[in-house]
Symmetry: C2
Subunit: 220 residues, 2 copies
């Protein structure tokens, strides 16, 4: 098989990959050997051209008239995302949101393995959340190195987000997934991804507000 040029891939395309992957897996489960960009676009309420462009980045070559081989596509997306390997992670902050992430199905299904949670609340330390032990935050330093943990999921209160991030960095963490509603500042070599629930709320409430204002203007 010829090796294809490495295609550049947009951040937005990466973010869409999980949608493609779960649809492809669904089709595999139903015994479908192939699926086309047209089909995917229809199911995801998007455009076929975007699907084709995105899938080009996986290196999978489609067949005119038939589309893409389901199995090949699933494997290629998983490889692209690194979801073909198990990813061990520490959860930092075992509050409501953190606890919810332990046991979040789409993570478990795709190789994200939260191996321990850390907190400074003595009531929580020593307990288990769905089988994951909650340890004292003081043991973080020791364990990151010893267990070769690359990824930390940061769900501490916003007030301590920056200082906790700095601790993680000095302990040698490679990537921080920041769920706190603030930006953390860390050295460039540390990978940071922020998932911002407040941003989503901003977007939906501003759209609702705009709609309400328009309605008021029409009736006024």
């Amino acid at each position: 098989m010829e090796t294809k040029e490495i295609k550049s891939i947009s951040k937005a395309a990466i973010r869409r990959m999980p949608l493609y992957l779960s649809l492809v897996k669904q089709q595999i489960a139903m015994g479908e050997k192939t699926l086309s960009s047209t089909f995917i676009a229809e199911k995801l309420n998007t455009e076929a051209i975007q699907v084709r462009k995105d899938l080009a980045a996986t290196g999978v070559v489609g067949q005119p008239r038939l589309g893409f081989c389901s199995e090949e596509l699933a494997a290629a997306i998983e490889r692209l995302l690194g979801w073909d390997n198990l990813q061990e992670a520490f959860l930092i902050g075992a509050g409501n949101l953190g606890s919810a992430l332990i046991g979040y199905e789409p993570f478990i299904e795709n190789g994200l393995n939260i191996v321990a949670a850390f907190d400074n609340d003595s009531d929580k330390i020593g307990t288990e959340i769905r089988g994951v032990k909650v340890l004292s935050i003081d043991r973080l330093e020791n364990l990151i190195g010893r267990m070769h943990i690359k990824l930390a999921i940061l769900t501490v209160p916003v007030e301590v987000a920056q200082q906790t991030a700095e601790r993680l960095v000095s302990d040698g963490i490679e990537a921080i997934w920041n769920f706190t509603p603030t930006k953390i500042i860390v050295p460039d070599e540390v990978i940071v991804e922020r998932t911002d629930l407040a941003a989503g709320y901003a977007q939906i409430s501003s759209r609702l507000a705009t709609k309400a204002q328009r309605k008021a203007a029409e009736n006024g």
Copy 2:
């Protein structure tokens, strides 16, 4: 006061507003009357020009040498986002993630009021989650109209996401905040915002995978 032209505002800018708002509120709490785009940019690890451009959309006019009036800016951002009014919402699906959203501080602080949760698990129905009653999903139809609820937060299992969304739409919901890892298809007039935890995971794990591959190539 002159009314300014309504500036167009990008989706990305809307999503950044909560970051600006919390920083501005922090400054107010510290007694600072003004703050500049330079200051904001430094704190948020971004560029001053982007901050100025974003803030222009609020209609607040800054003063050369001084920057923006903190109080005025906070009020303008809250108005822009509709966070100056209480937003009542139903939570659909009282699982782990849904439960975590009840009581999520940044929502509560900014006017998002989850007034009831709905589930079809008889073990959950009748219980309370941090003061919010869990009701049978069968009562949804009746209550959306009666309580004039505009916003539904969808945290049901992915398998029932589409059918639940359709129910919400036929009951007259105006906006759906979709936390399920799938796209839901609804009429255009219904506002849909999707917060996709799997997308964030895709992004961070692909970056980790790329880094690991580069490292392997160097050592190989």
